[in-house]
Each structure stands twice: as C-alpha cells, then as structure tokens.
C-alpha cells in the first residue's frame, strides 16, 4: 500500500508544488494526469525517492521513504520501486540480458538465466537475450525498459510518459504490457502522462493540474 500525504516540494520561491493526497492499495492502477509543467515529473521523482519533499510523507509498505537515510533509500527503492523512464536509458556496454541482471545485482540479489528469459518472453524479446542495446528498435527498447522495471518484482511500478512517442497501435500494446506486468505481482502501477489516449483505460485517475502554486 502507498500513502502520499500533504506533499510539498519547491525548486525555488516561484516554482513550488503542493500535491494532492493519494492512497493506493495493492494491485491498483492509477493514471496521474496533467499538462506540461504542472509537476508530473516532480511528483514521479518524489514518489521514486529521487527528490526529497520539503514537507509531507510518502509511505510505501509502511516505510516513509522520505525519512530514509540515503544509503538505505538506494537499496529500498531499488527493491521496491521499478521505473520506466520517458527516455530509455541503458548501460550501452552491456547486452540485453546483462542489463537485466545488473538491475538484480545492484540490489544484492541473484538471478538465473531462466528468470531473465521468462521476463524477456513475456515482453516479446525472447530472441534478444544477447543482443547489444544499440541493435534494438525504439519499441524494443521500451519493452526492455518495462522488463527491467519489473525484474525485481517491485511493490510499485512507475511509468513516466510511456506512450508519448508511440502511435495508437503501439500505445495500446505498451499500456497492456505494463498493466499485465503490474498485475502479475499485484504491483501498484502509477502512469504519469499528459496523453489523452490513456484516460479511458484507467479507472483511478489523479489530476495534478492544480498542484503548481
């Protein structure tokens, strides 16, 4: 369960945000909507622990991540939160499988080739096990992003504008994959987007348009 309460953040005096409270239960799937510049990415980074809030709490499975020491936060977030970034960042010197294994290594856990193959299979990347990142298409890179975000079976899956660069067909496919992966482990899914095409697909929605102060 995730509880976000009384969350404030400010970059400077003219640029501060107060975010609405939100409570997500296991397996909930939420759409976080808002115009450009309304603080979507800030909200996502706060929930992902990349930013420290000025005020407020972000409680994931009874742990307030805004209160964790940096060294604890890194591991906790690595284990509990999977993120699909808007741009697809990978370690270019590693191949597909190695990128997935690294995600597991960094939280001090072991992984077998079978686990890697399983997740690649679910995301239609079966034949890319040893492919270099540069050989993947945009769509494949996005699916690999999803694979990496779920490889540690996190409690929370965050997606930042996952569909903004996709056509309608791939947009639907990407969201279906995300939702399918989230439901496998009863993971909470938060999709942050301004993409109107996604609105009909989500029951739970949060609008951030009023967050900017």
């Amino acid at each position: 369960m995730i509880v976000v309460k009384n969350l404030h953040y400010s970059y400077n005096a003219n640029n501060s945000f107060v975010f609405p409270d939100i409570i997500c239960r296991e397996a909930d799937q939420w759409l976080i909507k808002g115009e450009s510049g309304c603080g979507k990415t800030t909200f996502l980074h706060l929930v992902a622990g990349l930013l420290k809030p000025a005020v407020g709490e972000i409680v994931i499975n009874n742990v307030d991540i805004s209160k964790l020491a940096i060294s604890e936060a890194d591991k906790y977030i690595g284990n509990e939160i999977g993120i699909v970034f808007q741009k697809h960042h990978f370690i270019r010197s590693l191949n597909v499988a190695e990128n997935l294994k690294l995600a597991r290594y960094l939280v001090d856990r072991k992984i077998t080739d079978k686990e890697v193959l399983d997740v690649l299979g679910r995301l239609h990347l079966d034949d890319k096990f040893k492919s270099p990142i540069n050989s993947l298409s945009q769509g494949e890179q996005q699916r690999l992003s999803i694979a990496r975000a779920v490889i540690n079976a996190p409690s929370l899956l965050l997606a930042d504008e996952p569909t903004s660069s996709l056509d309608d067909k791939h947009c639907k496919e990407a969201i279906e994959l995300l939702c399918a992966e989230a439901s496998r482990n009863n993971t909470i899914l938060l999709v942050v987007t301004h993409d109107q095409r996604l609105s009909p697909l989500f029951e739970n929605q949060l609008n951030l348009n009023t967050a900017k102060q």
């Binding site: 060294s71 890194d74 690595g78 990978f90 370690i91 010197s93 294994k101 690294l102």
Partner: protein
C-alpha cells in the same frame, strides 16, 4: 554481472581509448623497469667481477680500457708490460699479492688467459671435473665455455689469434688440452680458458716471426696482434745484457692486492710517475663509468616519468569525458539500487584497471626486452643476464601505476557520485 565485469565491459566498449591509456602507462613502466634491470644487472656483474682487486697495472693508455680488458675481459688490452718490471711491483712491501694475466688468443670467442692458480681463487671458483692446469698447454675452462663449445676433459683444441672468433690466424701447430672444467661461478671466469703464462709465451714464441709479415697485410687484426699478444716485441729487448730471457718476456696486466690501505695513496702514483706502465684503480674507473652511464639512465628515467605524468592526464581526460557521456548510465545505476559508493568505485575501478593492465603490459615488455638484450650481450660479450625480476621494485612500480590510476580517476569518480539524479534523468 558484478561491478568488475561492468568495469571491464565499459573499458571494452571504448577499446581505442583504453588501449591508448594502457599503452601510455605501459611505456612509462617499461622504460623505468627496463632501465632498472639493465642497471642492476650491470652493477651485479661489475661488482662480482671486481672481486677486491685493488689495482691493475698494465701498459699506458686509457685506464678504463685497462680495467675493462683485464678485469671484465670485454675491451682490448692497452698493450703489454715487461715481466721484469711487473715483478718489481710484486716485491714492493705495500703489495700483498699479485696475479699476472697474459692475453692474446681466443677459442670460439672465449679468451685464453695465461695466469696463476691464484686467479680462479679470487672468484672462489671450484672445479666441477678434472684438475687445475699444471703442465704447459693444459687448460681449465669456465662453465660457459664448456657448455657452449662442448669441450670435455682430454679434448684438444687450437687457439685463434686475437679476441675475435672469426680470425683466421689459427695456432694449429700447438694445441691446448682440457684438464679441468669449472663449476659455474657467476663471474667472468665462466667465460675464460685458463692456462699458465708460459703456455701463452710458448704459442707466440714459436709462431711469431713466421707470421708477422702475413699479419701486416690483414688490416685491423694486425694491430690487435701486435698490441695485445704477449711477448711480441722481441727485437727491442734482445740486447738487454742481464737476464735477457726474463726481460724479453711480457705479460698483459698485473692484478695487485694491497697489504694495507696506505698502498692506495702511494703505489698508483709511484707506478704512473716512475715507470712506463700505468696503474688503474677499478673503483675509480668504475665510478667514472657509472657517472657516464648515470646521465643516460637519468634522462631515460626522466622521459619515463614524463610519460607516466602524461598517462595520468590522459586517463583523467578519458574518464572525465566518458563520465559526461555516461552520466545517464551512472544515474541509472543509482536508481536501480546502486549506492553512491557503487558509482564511485565503478569510475575508480576503470582508472585502476587501466593502470594495472598498463603495469602488467609494461612489465612483460621489459622482461621480453631484457631477454633479447641478454641474448645479444651473451653473443657479443659472453655476458648474460640472469634473474630478471625484483619483487620489491616491481611492487613499487605497481604501486606507482595504481597511484596514477587513482589520482586520475578520483575526481571524475567524486563528480559522478554527486550527480543530481532527478536533474540528470529529467534532461
């Protein structure tokens, strides 16, 4: 997948950059290490062979040449001295012991030295088989001579005139016989053929006048012949009235051991001023040689340290640039659960790996190079190099390389550790 593998793959992803940096470190280490090996080996050979010889007396000429020719058996002798004059020195009360050396011939490039049984004793040489030379034309040969020439006890061979194996002036008429073979003594003795002085006289006495005119037409060899061969200048002395035979005889050099330190003050001056011989001190001449070599060694080292400095800069620039290119990747590692120190050590390890591989490469290069130099000097001077490695020095060089890797990578490492994740990933 662990951090070391990741470091390795990151380096392999930019092979040219990595290779350049490794090459720079390796070149620095190679020069330093190679110069050290050369220096050490030369010093070892020189010291071992100097064997407490206090003074060398020989014909006038370059003192360094006299030392090199009579102690290290590398250069040509300066000429000959009269046995009668040399004997005067032996009788001097300041002198404890003298050893005569009569050079002139070689066998397959190994010098044949006419001397006394005292000579092998100064190198603590022990016979492996057979016995010391006793009668004329008997020889005891060094370990290396036996190994390379295949001579065995009882074998006979003819000496070749001069110090070059290629000379065609072979003393076929009188042959030496091997009576003993020395165990390796790790000194100049290993490459010598020892016999008594009178054998050398005998050879040159018997052939001398018959071949001299032929020699005169042989260019360079001719000079060696007249200058270096014992007992050549018969004509000059044949009218000496007393002890004509002894006065006639010549040796190449006399090794002198002092009875007390006072001798060092007076004896060399006495000889240099009052006789037409010269006295050279091995210590003084070798120090002169070292100081000449020292300039070369110092400039080589200077170049090496300069290259190491450049390599540090090069590693720094490479890492700094690649940190900029890879800041997303490093931020990603943090987001995926990597700690700050994981990112820090990842960058640091890249620098250290480059310098470590560079060290290993340079070290192996220096071993190969000294191996080839050893073969070269073995065939040219019969001086080989033995143990190439010196653990202590290598550890210092390793430490130095790692320090360079560390210094070059610590700033990029700190910088990437401090990256603002949210900002980097949002860019």
């Amino acid at each position: 997948m662990n951090i070391l593998q990741l470091t390795w793959k990151n380096l392999r992803a930019k092979p040219l950059n990595a290779m350049l940096n490794i090459l720079l470190v390796a070149t620095g280490i190679f020069i330093i290490s190679f110069v050290l090996i050369l220096e050490k080996q030369t010093e070892q050979h020189l010291e071992r062979n100097a064997a407490n010889i206090n003074l060398v007396v020989g014909a006038k000429g370059s003192p360094l040449q006299l030392i090199l020719s009579s102690i290290y058996q590398v250069d040509y002798p300066t000429g000959n001295i009269k046995l009668s004059e040399a004997e005067q020195i032996s009788k001097n009360p300041l002198v404890k012991k003298t050893i005569p050396l009569a050079l002139g011939d070689n066998f397959k490039g190994f010098r044949i030295v006419g001397t006394t049984h005292d000579y092998p004793m100064i190198y603590d040489a022990k016979l492996a088989v057979g016995k010391l030379w006793k009668a004329d034309m008997e020889v005891s040969i060094g370990a290396k001579v036996a190994m390379e020439s295949g001579l065995k006890i009882g074998d006979k061979f003819a000496g070749v005139h001069g110090f070059m194996a290629e000379s065609n002036d072979v003393h076929n008429e009188s042959q030496y016989m091997v009576s003993g073979i020395y165990a390796p003594s790790n000194s100049v003795l290993d490459q010598l053929i020892l016999t008594n002085v009178s054998s050398v006289w005998q050879i040159h006495g018997s052939h001398h006048h018959g071949t001299e005119n032929d020699d005169a037409h042989q260019g360079e060899h001719d000079e060696d012949h007249d200058e270096h061969c014992a007992q050549h200048d018969h004509n000059e002395h044949q009218h000496d009235d007393t002890d004509a035979e002894a006065a006639d005889k010549e040796i190449t050099a006399l090794l002198v051991f002092y009875r007390n330190p006072m001798a060092a003050v007076t004896l060399p001056r006495q000889i240099n001023q009052n006789t037409n011989m010269q006295a050279a001190s091995p210590v003084i001449e070798m120090n002169r040689l070292y100081s000449l070599m020292g300039i070369g060694i110092e400039s080589a080292n200077l170049i090496a340290y300069l290259i190491m400095l450049i390599s540090a800069f090069s590693i720094f620039i490479s890492l700094y640039n690649s940190m900029k290119e890879r800041k997303y990747e490093l931020a990603l590692i943090r987001v995926l659960g990597g700690r700050k120190r994981t990112v820090f050590s990842l960058v640091l390890l890249e620098g250290l790996t480059i310098s470590f591989v560079g060290f290993i490469t340079g070290y192996l290069l220096s071993i190969c190079a000294s191996f080839f130099i050893s073969i070269y000097s073995e065939s040219n001077f019969h001086y080989g190099f033995n143990n190439y490695t010196n653990l202590g020095t290598n550890l210092i060089l390793l430490g130095m390389s790692l320090l360079i890797g560390f210094t070059a990578s610590v700033i990029p490492a700190i910088k990437s550790m401090r990256t603002n994740l949210s900002k980097t990933l949002d860019e």
